[in-house]
């Protein structure tokens, strides 16, 4: 049926955005607006395909993708926290740089351009028992679950706990909220920020791995298709709260999944693509206006 299809598609399309958004959200709670999530997703996808083909194991591939993303994120963070680079411009630069490097490696190591198709790429396994597909409405979505989607949603519901209850979670929030206070309390704000950026890289890398290994098993330069920016939009819209952000991601995933239906309804695809960004703009305006009101009425 159509409903279960839409649910399944929304869920699948949500996962990469969701993973990147979870990373970006922690990063922003730590005080860094990361607009280079896209670059880290791309790096993750690239590494995932290579490692999966080399080892034939999806788990190692996914892990390597995450580590690669984290590494890129960490280096990026150093530029911001140690060399005081402006995070926005450096982020834009990183997007260009990573694309350049990957293109370069594709060219010189794999002698191809744009697409990397390797033999024996192992995809993410679908592990649910067969009978679930018989469950009405959600059966299809369930039967298509793979580990990363499950992990992403586990993260959504554990992240609030981790942020609230672990030392590092507290440090991240304190650093983002009041760096001078964190410093006075003996916490190295820079290290915490570096951690949060590496964390964002880790999750973006996972998002990239999902894009590459969920079903298609190959790498393409355009694979991320700006999803890093959609993730950014999601956690801005979700005000850095994991569950809200996840719902926004789900909404964006749903928009993607129903895009084809909206096209049938006569909406041009280009305009449909702007909906997430327009939503964020509207959300920003409402938040700004409310803030303004609150200040104006302050007793």
């Amino acid at each position: 049926m159509i409903v279960d299809q839409v649910i399944a598609a929304s869920l699948t399309l949500t996962t990469p955005i969701l993973l990147a958004a979870m990373g970006g959200l922690v990063n922003r709670q730590g005080g860094i607006v990361n607009i280079a999530l896209d670059a880290k997703m791309l790096a993750g996808a690239f590494v995932a395909v290579i490692v999966s083909s080399m080892t034939g194991g999806w788990f190692v591939a996914v892990l390597s993708a995450a580590v690669a993303g984290a590494l890129v994120g960490y280096l990026f963070s150093l530029v911001i926290t140690r060399a005081n680079a402006n995070m926005i411009v450096a982020g834009l630069g990183l997007n260009v740089l990573v694309a350049g490097f990957i293109g370069f490696i594709l060219n010189w190591v794999y002698d191809s351009s744009g697409t990397l198709r390797l033999p024996d790429v192992q995809l993410l396994p679908k592990f649910m028992p067969d009978f679930v597909s018989g469950i009405p409405v959600v059966g299809l979505a369930l039967s298509e679950l793979e580990p990363l989607t499950v992990f992403a949603w586990i993260t959504v519901f554990t992240l609030p706990f981790l942020l609230a209850n672990t030392r590092i979670g507290l440090w991240v929030r304190a650093t983002g909220n009041a760096p001078q206070v964190a410093r006075a309390m003996g916490i190295s704000g820079r290290n915490v920020q570096d951690f949060s950026t590496a964390f964002a890289g880790f999750f973006s890398g996972l998002g990239g791995a999902h894009l590459a290994l969920a079903s298609i098993g190959l790498f393409n330069e355009g694979l991320t298709a700006g999803r890093g920016f959609i993730a950014l939009a999601a956690f801005y819209f979700g005000r850095d709260r994991p569950v809200t952000t996840a719902l926004v991601c789900l909404l964006f995933g749903f928009l993607d999944a129903t895009q084809i239906r909206m096209q049938t309804a006569g909406l041009p695809p280009k305009l449909i693509g702007t909906i997430p960004y327009l939503m964020v703009l509207v959300a920003l305006c409402i938040a700004g206006w409310r803030n303004h009101r609150r200040k104006a009425v302050a007793p």
Binding site: A83, N86, G93, Y277
Partner: protein, 354 residues
């Protein structure tokens, strides 16, 4: 962003400082590129020599470089005008694309009989629409403190969506194999400066914009006020400068210049609007502005350097096996290191020690 509200603060040291600021990121980028080139067994010096020859070797190549630099003159200034006032506008790209579409629209819809008046009309319309485009986030920032980085970033994507839709729908050329508008009337096309090179009058307009920007920044009260706001908001409002008015002014100016840049590119280079109108001139413009430390001469040099990279980066492929990715690597590295303060910090320290 520390270009002092310096009405003429220009002893030798200052120039030295700026020179380092401009050169440092490029040196880092060249080192990175050299490492990559060595890794693939190319001699970096040969490659750099070839790239230099391809960008400045002959008159024609210089013209090609300047032609590639033309849009960056506009986007560099449009960005610098905001950065200088402490407004982090990353929406120049979107405004440029919108402006380009508007100019092309005027250029092919109005009757050709209007002749040369088409050009000012197209430029004017582009400037107007782009100014309104950036006025929106400017207003939101000035009045409601809506974070301009995110609002302008989001607006870029909206601009891509709208122009992408229009150029495929209502404004699509009747018969074409691609998403392009019809060609603008011949009268609306900017004449070329050094035929056969594609260098066109838009370059002169761009240079004029840079000069006007320099004059505005250093020789007018409003440029002075904007710089003060960028340096110290509390001070500025204490001496009677309106912060919201300044923010709105610089955003509108930025929009106007982005629009002019789009018009120049549409009427001078492509003679229409098309998919792939801008490969990110607005974003490169940010690097240009930062590299040039928001200073007019710095912006000009920065734009030329990036123009050289773009023009040489493609044509070297004719004569060597260097892939385009090297250019991306250089460009990305320059962008990142343009904003790194290492060079400046150590220079300041060194100066403080003396």
């Amino acid at each position: 962003m520390a270009e002092a509200a310096s009405i003429g603060r220009s002893p030798l040291m200052d120039w030295f400082d700026k020179g380092i600021g401009l050169a440092f990121p490029f040196i880092v980028a060249l080192v990175v590129a050299a490492v990559v080139l060595l890794a693939i067994g190319e001699n970096p010096l040969d490659v750099f020599a070839l790239m230099f020859a391809e960008s400045f070797g002959t008159q024609r190549r210089i013209a090609a470089t300047l032609s590639a630099a033309t849009p960056l003159l506009f986007t560099g200034v449009a960005t610098a005008i905001c950065f200088r006032s402490g407004v982090f506008n990353v929406g120049v790209e979107g405004a440029l694309v919108i402006g380009g579409l508007c100019a092309a629209f005027i250029g092919f819809t109005l009757p050709a009989a209007l002749g040369l008046t088409l050009i000012p009309l197209a430029f004017g319309f582009a400037a107007l629409v782009s100014a309104i485009w950036l006025l929106v986030p400017g207003f939101l920032l000035a009045r409601y403190e809506v974070d301009e980085v995110v609002s302008t970033l989001m607006l870029n994507f909206v601009a891509f969506g709208i122009t992408g839709y229009l150029v495929n729908g209502p404004l699509l050329s009747e018969i074409s194999g691609n998403n392009v508008t019809p060609l603008v009337h011949e009268a609306a096309q900017l004449p070329r400066l050094m035929p056969p090179s594609t260098l066109h009058t838009g370059f002169l307009i761009g240079v004029l914009v840079v000069i006007l920007y320099g004059v505005w920044a250093r020789r007018t009260p409003s440029g002075f006020e904007a710089a003060l706001v960028g340096q110290n908001k509390r001070f500025s409002s204490a001496v009677g400068i309106s912060i919201p008015a300044t923010i709105i002014l610089v955003m509108v100016l930025s929009g106007v210049i982005s629009g002019l840049g789009g018009a120049s590119h549409a009427l001078g280079q492509l003679h229409r609007f098309a998919d792939g109108f801008s490969p990110g001139y607005g974003f490169t413009g940010m690097a240009v502005a930062l590299l040039g430390r928001n200073n007019a001469i710095g912006i000009f040099l920065g734009a030329v350097l990036f123009g050289a990279l773009a023009s040489a980066g493609t044509t070297v492929q004719l004569f060597s096996d260097i892939p385009l990715d090297i250019v991306n690597i250089i460009e990305g590295t320059v962008m990142i290191f343009a904003v790194v303060e290492l060079g400046r910090i150590s220079l300041k320290r060194w100066r403080a020690r003396r």
